[in-house]
Symmetry: C2
Subunit: 342 residues, 2 copies
């Protein structure tokens, strides 16, 4: 497949780096200010070096990528300020500078991601999303555009990165899934794990997480539940199969900022702990700190994610792993590309 | 899709029962002694009642199903004596009587399952396996027949029932998976969980498991590691992508029959426990009791399964759930049918 990759953050860059190994060719690559287009395939190493050194991927206009020859648009521009997931190296974080500027426009109208999707579908191309915005905030619009296009939209990478959450829901059949719940934000989980293990307070652990690069300088969307809620909303949209549309406004969201170390200590006396849990069930999305069994299925440690899918006939399926990070998410993007190629 | 279902045990019967809900039609259904064929779709309730009451599914010759109109052959005849998984109701176990007779022929040459596959592929039909035999014991033969056919063989249900293990390996790409390990037999896991929790000996717990219907009257293949090894061999065949062929002879297999309650007590003093673990890595398949962290990713409780997949870029993906049972495995079969329909 010939890929057009939008977004030169950790995910987009990793897609460019790994595409060849998966047998695909990147014919166009853009960040918010620049682009490089080559019908024979761009030179990944050279382009990623240029991005690191000069801050741009090439000399062309970002708009020019839509005129390139490509089969699949990989939409990896940032959704939210909080979307720079744990595990980013300093280089990767430096690449992510454009994220801050893009933020105010992405929640609510999901721009510029939505317009990218619209344009690719109008040209009958496929779209693979790493950006949560379009399917969290404008799901019905995306599906309507897809219905009028020869192209297909896939977005497995938007929920849990490489964890096979959406693909499992798809395989089981959304109508047979009664509930999806668990931990979908590694930064919040790291903070809560450390608070429980060390008996420290929120502010203290958060500062440590920022030092370690596990939390961003502004971790608002990770700790206030917004990032988790966006993922829950996407799951809810998939489960509703078009009968209802969910956006962030439909989610009841509470963060972990008010939790004290003492509350975690109390929980531990009963063999429990506290995690930031999303629950998607019965047509609702709820996010908040919840008491869970300390060694249970939805109490992962560190930056891990852990989700349970309850489905008719299958019972409870549990899926755990690193839910974020450039290579992990890029791997999920390339799995979606592969499914489109089949 | 029009399905031809071979095998009227728990899995085959559940496929017949659930097919309509998934939008498919069963046009032929056979056990080892009888068959029913109807181009408009068999009456599932009537046929399953007949099987329960008269011990046969219909009045036709089992061979007649191959002349029926169908798109996908669902091969759910039994592989091994130990394959009647936990959770079978008494009714389901009654349906499984034919299993014992079929047993001696299936290990080694994978018959009669292999011939069923051969015949369907020769007719350019698809095949979905619930029966492990053909892909554990004659993988290369199955792939060679598939290469000469318009039909495709899928076998997601053979490893962990509804757990998305093989589909995740397929999505990530077998060449990027470096190791697969964990618990794939619910009966053995139940026995070890109970021994650890109650401090009882193997013989005692096994008798209890048999009373509960969690272990078969003859649980040999569950407790001696054979069932787990067959699943590991299938995974190894998938990872090898045709470069090497694995059969049960290539697996190093040790069971749990020799374990004492005292050994589990000793393990617990260190926060560990013992589980029957399969490890597929570096071109080898090993099955045996292993010390694992008591609250770790591969120490599920009761009859649960728990597997870790280590893959480049994705890290460690964990998958847990009920790895056996009629409806669970039927659900996996129907997922494979769905993927063929796409």
């Amino acid at each position: 497949m010939r890929l057009c990759v939008l977004g030169a953050g950790a995910v987009g860059s990793a897609v460019v780096e790994l595409a060849a190994e998966h047998g695909h060719v990147v014919t166009a690559f853009a960040d918010s200010d620049s682009a490089v287009v080559d019908a024979d395939g761009i030179d990944a190493d050279a382009v990623l070096s240029k991005k690191r050194e000069d801050g741009v991927v090439g000399d062309a206009d970002p708009e020019s990528v839509f005129d390139a020859d490509y089969d699949v648009l990989v939409e990896a521009t940032p959704t939210t300020l909080g979307d720079a997931e744990p595990g980013f190296s300093h280089v990767e974080r430096a690449l992510y500078d454009v994220l801050v500027e893009a933020t105010p426009t992405t929640l609510g109208d999901a721009e510029p991601g939505f317009s990218h999707v619209e344009r690719a579908l109008a040209d009958d191309r496929h779209v693979v999303l790493a950006n949560k915005g379009p399917v969290a905030e404008r799901y019905a619009d995306v599906r309507a555009l897809e219905a009028d296009s020869e192209g297909t939209v896939r977005f497995g990478a938007t929920v849990g990165g490489a964890l096979p959450i959406l693909s499992t829901i798809e395989d089981v059949g959304p109508s047979r899934v009664s509930a999806v719940y668990g931990v979908l934000n590694g930064t919040a989980n790291f903070v809560l794990s450390r608070m429980a293990a060390e008996g420290l307070d929120y502010e203290h652990v958060l500062a440590e997480a920022q030092d370690l690069g596990v939390a961003e300088a502004d971790p608002t969307f990770d700790v206030d539940g917004t990032d988790t809620a966006l993922k829950g909303v996407i799951v809810a949209n998939v489960l509703a199969e078009g009968e209802t549309e969910f956006t962030l406004d439909d989610a009841a969201v509470e963060g972990i900022q008010e939790l004290s170390g003492g509350m975690l200590d109390l929980a531990q006396e009963d063999g429990q702990t506290i995690r930031l849990i999303v629950e998607v069930a019965d047509g609702s999305v709820r996010v908040g700190p919840r008491l869970v069994s300390a060694n249970g299925a939805v109490a992962p440690s560190g930056t891990e994610n852990a989700v349970q899918i309850e489905a008719d006939y299958c019972g409870r399926l549990g899926i755990t792993g690193r839910g974020a990070g450039g290579p992990e998410t890029a791997s999920a993007v390339l799995t979606d590309v592969e499914r489109l190629a089949d």
